[in-house]
């Protein structure tokens, strides 16, 4: 089965991104496909490479980056939600005249159309959030 996954809450403050990660890992291990995960609302904050959790805690961003590297999962961050919350890729930082960018490896910024496309393409769409 082909799953689409939405993460709509921020990391560390909410279980949603952890649960989504565990779900995706388990689904892939069971032979299912998860071509794309879409990060929306505060979920976009999962994709900043500037987060520094305490060393004895899980690093949520690094877990997702490793997963994307291993399985080719497309990790998409909604651009409108990202801009509100201070997440920029290199191109957008230049375009907006900002002095830094902060998107982690394996993530990319794109539009809400990617969410709709995922809904059309997937057999099941799972939302992790409140």
């Amino acid at each position: 089965m082909k799953f689409g996954v939405v993460v709509s809450e921020g990391p560390y403050t909410h279980q949603a991104s952890d649960t989504a990660y565990h779900f995706v890992t388990a689904a892939l291990a069971a032979g299912h496909e998860v071509p794309r995960v879409f990060f929306y609302h505060d979920g976009v904050n999962v994709g900043t490479r500037l987060s520094i959790p305490p060393q004895d805690e899980r690093n949520i961003q690094e877990q997702w980056t490793a997963l994307a590297k291993e399985h080719g999962t497309d990790l998409v961050i909604c651009i409108a939600a990202a801009q509100r919350r201070g997440l920029l890729d290199k191109n957008e930082a230049e375009r907006q005249g900002k002095d830094a960018d902060n998107i982690a490896e394996g993530f990319r910024i794109s539009g809400l159309g990617q969410l709709i496309e995922m809904g059309i393409d997937a057999d099941r769409l799972m939302t992790f959030g409140d």
Binding site: H41, L112, G113, L115, G119, I120, A122, T127
Partner: protein
């Protein structure tokens, strides 16, 4: 599912202000309207407050986005299911909601109401009939 068209239901459960969920849900609906899918919206729990008329957000310094719901008909989003029990529980009636209409091209552009009041059990049926449910 016919011809690659899926039934999308956007479920709105939260109040319009205080959190960003409602506004970002509406942004998804507007973008999603361009994809030629069969789109419906559902309003339940505090989500029914999103459709109330006479919203004035001046004092909280937040943009009032409630007029956008009246434009949904132009995007061919014409089915807004509102749960009756959620209205009742909050002391609201249909008179407290905005009038939202669309022009039915299959019926000589007759102006028709977009809001459909359903019971909680009917709402379950609406959800059961969907291909994709996005909950906000």
């Amino acid at each position: 599912m016919e011809d690659g068209v899926k039934k999308f239901l956007y479920v709105n459960r939260k109040a319009p202000y205080g959190t960003i969920y409602a506004l970002e849900a509406l942004e998804v609906v507007l973008i999603g309207a361009a994809f030629d899918q069969d789109v419906s919206l559902a309003f339940l729990d505090d989500g029914v407050f999103q459709l109330t008329k006479g919203q004035d957000t001046k004092e909280i310094g937040v943009k009032n986005f409630s007029p956008t719901f009246r434009a949904l008909g132009d995007y061919e989003v014409t089915k807004l299911y509102v749960e009756k029990e959620s209205l009742d529980e909050r002391g609201l009636t249909t008179d407290d909601l905005q009038e939202i209409t669309y022009e039915d091209e299959d019926d000589d552009w007759a102006e028709k109401p977009s809001i459909i009041i359903v019971s909680r059990s009917e709402m379950a049926d609406v959800m059961a009939g969907q291909d994709v449910i996005l909950s906000f």
